[in-house]
């Protein structure tokens, strides 16, 4: 089992008021799975993704990634997991504006001390995976939205992570470009990557083998594609 969460809680305290962003979320995802998370706005999808992506720690409950108890790790260990095991794709791309596409893709490698030569080669390979070799020296503002998201995808997979997470990766793209991105995800899945994406759109969710619905911070139901 790649991911196992047990009764995860995330409670935000806003003065005297408490927001239960996640309530007793227990979830298992196997290696090689492709899962989509759906739910209304404010239901806790991003909160769950941030926990799975080790950007945040739960208020209560345990989270095992690759059988390691992540929910008890310190900042440096979490940074290491984010770097090695997880590739994140955001709705707003989150590229460094001043850096070229190639440099953006190299960034995760910078933080695990990969040599410059190796970094350049791996970045080139990752850009090739998303069909953007010819845009390597472009800055983000010289790229279209779809191209930016492809750079972000290349960055997410450059370190060959155990898990690729995407929080509304098509949210800022038109339908056509969104489907192009989803086709790349499909390709990555076929190559054996484990993917979890958050989306509002049913169209997009159907790319996945498994759809997890959440509401008010709790898992409501699940659907599996039969084949």
């Amino acid at each position: 089992m790649l991911i196992r969460t047990q009764d995860l809680w995330k409670i935000y305290e806003m003065g005297r008021e408490k927001v239960n962003a996640l309530r007793e979320v227990s979830l298992e995802i196997e290696k090689g799975e492709y899962a989509a998370i759906m739910g209304p706005s404010g239901s806790g999808k991003s909160t769950l993704m941030n926990l799975i992506g080790c950007l945040d720690t739960p208020t209560k409950g345990d989270y095992y990634l690759n059988d390691k108890l992540v929910s008890q790790m310190n900042d440096d260990e979490l940074a290491r997991i984010r770097n090695k095991e997880i590739g994140f794709v955001f709705q707003t791309f989150n590229l460094l504006a001043r850096a070229t596409a190639a440099h953006n893709v190299e960034l995760p490698l910078v933080y695990n001390g990969t040599e410059s030569e190796v970094r350049k080669r791996k970045a080139r390979e990752a850009l090739k995976m998303v069909d953007l070799e010819d845009r390597a020296t472009h800055k983000p503002n010289e790229l279209s939205g779809g191209e930016r998201q492809r750079v972000a995808l290349a960055r997410a997979l450059v370190n060959n992570p155990a898990l690729i997470l995407a929080d509304e990766p098509t949210g800022n793209l038109d339908t056509k470009t969104g489907h192009e991105i989803m086709n790349i995800f499909k390709k990555l899945h076929r190559q054996g990557n484990t993917l979890i994406i958050v989306t509002h759109e049913h169209d997009i969710a159907t790319y996945a083998d498994r759809i997890i619905y959440i509401r008010d911070g709790a898992i409501e139901k699940e659907e599996r594609k039969k084949n």
Partner: protein, 412 residues
């Protein structure tokens, strides 16, 4: 790579806004420049003063009415003292066993004229002929001789002139044997001194030496209603006996001037060493001033850098979030911002060093001070700049490192 990137980011942010960069770095620039300029000027002065004082010799001392005056009170007290006379000089010459040669001089300022041309405000010294044996007076080669004993004894109107007198009044003729008018009196030039250059903008070549007897005769024995006081210059038998020579001279003068045994000397005795002490006091004041100015400038510069870095951290909150999401640890972010602030400060330091060296050069060109820079001070300048960058960069860098990745990513 990370290091290079940090340096690059800092340089690029400097280049994009040049005016702001200058304002940002001005404190560090001034701080480091002060250190380099003052130390190079002092190093130059050290060499110069050592040269000058070596002309005096460590076996020579001076006696005058004033001594080293350090305050107004001392000045008012010295003003009331009896003058020192040629008779005092003779008494020392006769009675001081450790003294080898005893001479005297007295000063005034006069206009010096040659048909048509003239120089204002030239320093005229009445001297004893043996002065050339006591202090180092260099003759211009082939340009005559110093004042003679005969001329001293017979009040002759002979003049030994500084290099500038020859240069300005006799540009194309040999001045030796020619007449010049000092005040209203004709003097015959007997010799010319070697060029000595200028010091702190003052020419040291516009002087005339005349026999002290002729000096009294033509320029008077009295000044402001008092007898003119002379300076006695003594060369001891040897360097080892200078203290005995000074003690003897002091005893002779105290007796002649009837100073009660429980009172201080009413005259001053100075050696090259006391002048050196005075100079050292001056340089230590200069060093203290330097430390004062440069530390204020560096602290102000540091605070400005800290502010710029805080602004930079805020503007780049999202970037910090992205880096953290991709696996940057706290210390990675900390380093990134420290490298940036140190780079900023170092650029200021380098500019400060260049300006300091320039200031030293300008001083060297306009004075005989051979402004020399000890590489040690350049290293210290760089070290100071680096320390300022580190010390004032820590707070913004820690702030950046502590940012929560999710909040940073959400920052607009």
């Amino acid at each position: 790579m990370n290091l290079l990137e940090g340096i690059f980011i800092a340089l690029r942010s400097l280049a994009t806004n040049k005016l702001r960069s200058i304002l940002t770095l001005i404190g560090v620039i001034i701080g480091v420049m002060t250190v380099i300029a003052i130390t190079s000027i002092i190093a130059g002065m050290n060499k110069y003063v050592a040269d000058q004082l070596s002309a005096v010799g460590s076996d020579t001392f001076f006696i005058d009415k004033w001594g080293l005056i350090m305050s107004d009170d001392e000045w008012w007290e010295a003003l009331k003292r009896k003058s020192i006379t040629l008779e005092d000089m003779e008494a020392i010459g006769e009675n001081c066993t450790y003294c080898d040669k005893v001479g005297a001089s007295a000063d005034t300022r006069r206009r010096v004229k040659r048909t048509g041309d003239h120089l204002e405000d030239v320093r005229i010294s009445g001297v004893t002929a043996n002065l050339i044996d006591i202090i180092d007076i260099k003759l211009e080669e082939g340009e005559g001789r110093y004042i003679s004993k005969f001329e001293e004894e017979h009040n002759r109107a002979a003049a030994f002139v500084g290099w500038e007198i020859k240069d300005k009044l006799f540009p194309s003729v040999d001045p030796v044997g020619k007449e010049i008018k000092i005040g209203n009196q004709e003097f015959k030039i007997v010799g010319v001194a070697q060029k000595r250059g200028s010091f702190l903008g003052q020419s040291r070549d516009n002087f005339v030496h005349v026999p002290i007897t002729a000096f009294f005769k033509h320029f008077g024995r009295r000044r402001y209603g008092r007898q003119l006081s002379v300076e006695i210059i003594v060369k001891a038998e040897s360097f080892e006996s200078i203290n005995e020579a000074m003690d003897e001279s002091r005893a002779i003068l105290r007796a002649r001037r009837r100073v009660p045994y429980d009172k201080k000397d009413d005259f001053g005795i100075m050696t090259a060493e006391t002048l050196m002490d005075l100079y050292r006091q001056f340089t230590s004041t200069a060093y203290l001033t330097m430390i004062g100015i440069s530390s204020i400038a560096l602290v102000v510069g540091g605070i400005v850098i800290m502010n710029i870095m805080l602004v930079s951290v805020t503007q780049r909150t999202r970037e910090i979030g992205i880096r953290k999401a991709l696996g940057a640890r706290k210390r990675d972010v900390l380093w990134q911002f420290l490298v940036e602030s140190v780079t900023l400060a170092l650029v200021g330091g380098i500019v400060g060093i260049l300006l300091g060296l320039g200031t030293g050069k300008i001083v060297a060109m306009n004075s005989p001070l051979p402004a020399s820079v000890d590489p040690l001070w350049i290293a210290i300048g760089l070290f100071l700049a680096t320390s300022v960058g580190l010390a004032f960069g820590v707070y913004p860098a820690v702030k950046a490192a502590r940012l929560d990745p999710i909040e940073a990513l959400r920052y607009e």
